[in-house]
């Protein structure tokens, strides 16, 4: 069968089987010890991931092992729907169960901020930084996901949230950067390796939490607690990120995959 005769999916299947397209896992394991976002104590808090055994080949169920698990819609590697934020609360199709599934399989651009984030834990991704990236890699295509690579996923323990008495210190985008990506580039969503799409000190930005406020206000999506972004190319990969179909869900833990073309390598 020649390439001309094959359907796009058959080509994809062939490339996957041949290892020309690699499936990269961008997900942290759902683990009770994985950090979650910590809000001021008087606010409601994000539930940690927990499991309780129902049976394990024992008197509760002799031949089978299964567990109940519990967590927040925003625990572990997770998806943010527009209704997560007040700015997106009245938008149509803005919950995880109503978002059109086309959003979950899209091209992805990766902006490498790892060197800058290593030098400055409060590094902010600006409009100018994105424009400089575009000079090298071309304009961000409309409908793409944009992921901010900081190598933050390589941190563990207290280094990950990096909490101090004045709050968390982790990199994130400025409001102008989000506005540029949404208004000028029409991205479908923005993702990070840190615990949220916003910087640790984003409550002090204007508007506060610009990624949440502006992305979700414009009906765009968020991904956070991503891993392995260092194995993705700047452009050309496909992101696969379907959240659980939770009725009226504000978000969901999920498995995030990237399809990366290794044939050129």
């Amino acid at each position: 069968m020649s390439m001309q005769d094959a359907s796009a999916l058959q080509v994809l299947d062939g490339a996957l089987s041949a290892g020309e397209i690699e499936t990269v896992d961008l997900t942290h394991t759902l683990d009770p010890d994985f950090p979650v976002i910590v809000l001021p104590p008087e606010f409601g808090q994000c539930a940690r991931f927990r499991v309780e055994e129902v049976s394990r080949y024992d008197e509760r169920g002799p031949a089978w092992y299964w567990r109940n698990f519990s967590c927040s819609e925003h625990t572990g590697t997770h998806f943010d729907a527009p209704i997560h934020w007040i700015s997106g609360k009245d938008l149509p199709d803005a919950a995880v169960d109503s978002i059109p599934p086309t959003a979950f399989v899209r091209p992805v651009c990766v902006i490498d901020c790892s060197a800058e984030s290593a030098k400055d834990e409060d590094f902010l991704l600006t409009e100018e930084f994105i424009q400089a990236w575009e000079k090298t890699h071309g304009d961000i295509p409309a409908g793409s996901w944009v992921l901010m690579r900081t190598d933050w996923s390589k941190r563990s323990g207290a280094e990950y949230l990096n909490m101090r008495e004045d709050g968390a210190h982790t990199p994130g985008p400025t409001g102008d950067a989000i506005k540029y990506m949404v208004e000028e580039r029409d991205i479908i969503g923005f993702g990070t390796e840190t615990v949220g799409t916003d910087a640790g000190q984003a409550t002090h930005l204007s508007p506060p939490h610009p990624a949440h406020y502006l992305l979700h206000g414009a009906g765009r999506y968020g991904l956070q607690c991503l891993a392995n972004l260092d194995s993705l190319p700047a452009t050309g990969a496909i992101l696969v990120c379907p959240p659980l179909k939770i009725k009226n869900g504000s978000g969901s833990p999920l498995r995030v995959l990237a399809l990366v073309d290794r044939s050129a390598a």
């Binding site: 009770p32 010890d33 950090p35 910590v38 409601g44 808090q45 539930a47 940690r48 927990r50 499991v51 309780e52 055994e53 563990s156 323990g157 207290a158 990950y160 949230l161 909490m163 101090r164």
Partner: protein, 420 residues
């Protein structure tokens, strides 16, 4: 003087762990009141309402005037040893394993003549002070102590059988992130505990006091989150065989009644720590401790629950927290049944408002974390199972004993509409 307690040698891994055996358990229904007082460290006997005659052993009617009105009252603890003997054989397994054992007859200043266990330092015909405590069966017994403190007095074998002295024992403090947990650890170290395992939840979040905590001698911090079954089970697997004393300092406190609350999320968090947390600890550490109740000088001996006094009766200002504490208190009563026959005591400390951030707006008098820690050490060294701490708690317990329904009315009416 008693032989000074030596640091116990490491356990011989080839020897079978001694199973707990028990002193006589049977008591009359009337005598349970003696045990209840002993569990609080009180020496109470029946006193006749009509003729003020003090009677012992417990009876249905006054032997002097035949009145039925016998009330349990705290009585004078002084007395004189009028006869003593040292048992060298017994048909009871518990005593056979602990021979020689000293018993004697004491003429109480309160009136009756009683049979009591005798501390090794009491001289014949000497004045004594009687203490009432629960023994390994959980039943109230009397021990005659010297009137004046003697050298190594706490190390006496017969006294140690009634107490849970932390000296040379290994303890687990379940939450070391809080000031309470850290004061508890320091107090245990000061009381001579040989190793102190300290649970730290969520090491990915910093906490204050960490540096000072790690400097306390004998301290080992371990990952432990009582809301996480896996974490509790893993720690028990790692060091559960060394938990001679478990002190549960984990608590989750939030103000608000059910109607003040918006949804059940916070209430679930309260239950996760205060109730399910206790249950996870019981399931993970309980069986091991139950099997080690007679494991030499550093046998498992005490499980300590720190509970708000509003576990007894709901205080609406902290209404749903009170409910979770009530659940924990109920579970702790069940734990006494689980540990029955093991010789491990369940010590419940009911405390009034604690000096900590979630109770910050409450007016004094409050209980400081230091005072609570000191009180736990006192309860352990004295072998007291039920402790009430602080003026607020004392008031609530007093009124609870008088009439729990009146207390309920008072707590729910006087704080109507008060929110924190």
């Amino acid at each position: 003087m008693a032989d000074p307690l030596q640091r116990p040698a490491k356990k011989d891994p080839q020897k079978r762990t001694t199973s707990p055996t028990l002193p006589p358990f049977a008591r009359s229904r009337k005598a349970v009141a003696f045990t209840a007082a002993a569990a609080e460290g009180r020496f109470a006997l029946q006193v006749c309402d009509e003729c003020e005659h003090v009677t012992y052993p417990p009876r249905e009617v006054c032997p002097k005037c035949w009145s039925m009105e016998l009330n349990w009252c705290d009585v004078e603890s002084g007395g004189a040893l009028i006869a003593a003997t040292t048992l060298r054989t017994s048909v009871n397994t518990y005593f056979r394993e602990r021979m020689p054992w000293r018993i004697g007859t004491v003429q109480l200043d309160a009136g009756p003549t009683v049979l009591a266990h005798i501390h090794g330092d009491v001289e014949e015909f000497a004045r004594v002070t009687i203490i009432a405590r629960t023994d390994k069966s959980g039943q109230g017994v009397m021990l005659a102590l010297p009137v004046k403190e003697t050298l190594n007095m706490a190390d006496d074998r017969q006294l140690r059988a009634l107490t849970c002295n932390p000296k040379y024992r290994r303890a687990l403090v379940t939450d070391g992130r809080t000031e309470l947990g850290q004061r508890m650890v320091k107090a245990l170290a000061d009381a001579g505990a040989s190793r102190i395992f300290v649970g730290i939840a969520e090491e990915w979040r910093p906490y204050s006091g960490q540096d000072a905590l790690l400097k306390i001698p004998g301290v080992e911090t371990m990952p432990l989150d009582v809301t996480n079954t896996i974490s509790v089970n893993e720690l028990a697997a790692e060091m559960g065989d060394k938990a001679d004393i478990l002190i549960n300092t984990a608590e989750y406190v939030r103000p608000g009644s059910a109607m003040d609350r918006h949804g059940v999320t916070l209430a679930r968090d309260e239950m996760e720590t205060n109730y399910f947390g206790l249950m996870r600890l019981i399931q993970a550490f309980g069986p091991g401790m139950r099997g080690r109740g007679a494991d030499g000088e550093n046998s498992a001996c005490a499980w300590v629950n720190l509970l708000s006094v509003y576990a007894l009766s709901n205080w609406p200002v902290y209404g749903t927290t009170s409910a979770s504490q009530a659940a924990a208190l109920s579970l702790s009563q069940g734990l006494r049944a689980d540990f029955a026959g093991s010789g491990v005591k369940v010590i419940n400390v009911l405390f009034g408002p604690l000096e900590e951030s979630w109770r910050q707006p409450l007016p004094p008098p409050k209980v400081t974390p230091q005072r609570l820690a000191d009180t736990v050490i006192h309860a352990l060294t004295e072998g007291i199972e039920n402790v009430t701490l602080g003026p607020v708690a004392e008031d609530v317990v007093r009124r609870y004993k008088e009439d729990p329904f009146v207390l309920e009315r008072e707590l729910t009416q006087m704080h109507a509409g008060m929110t924190i």
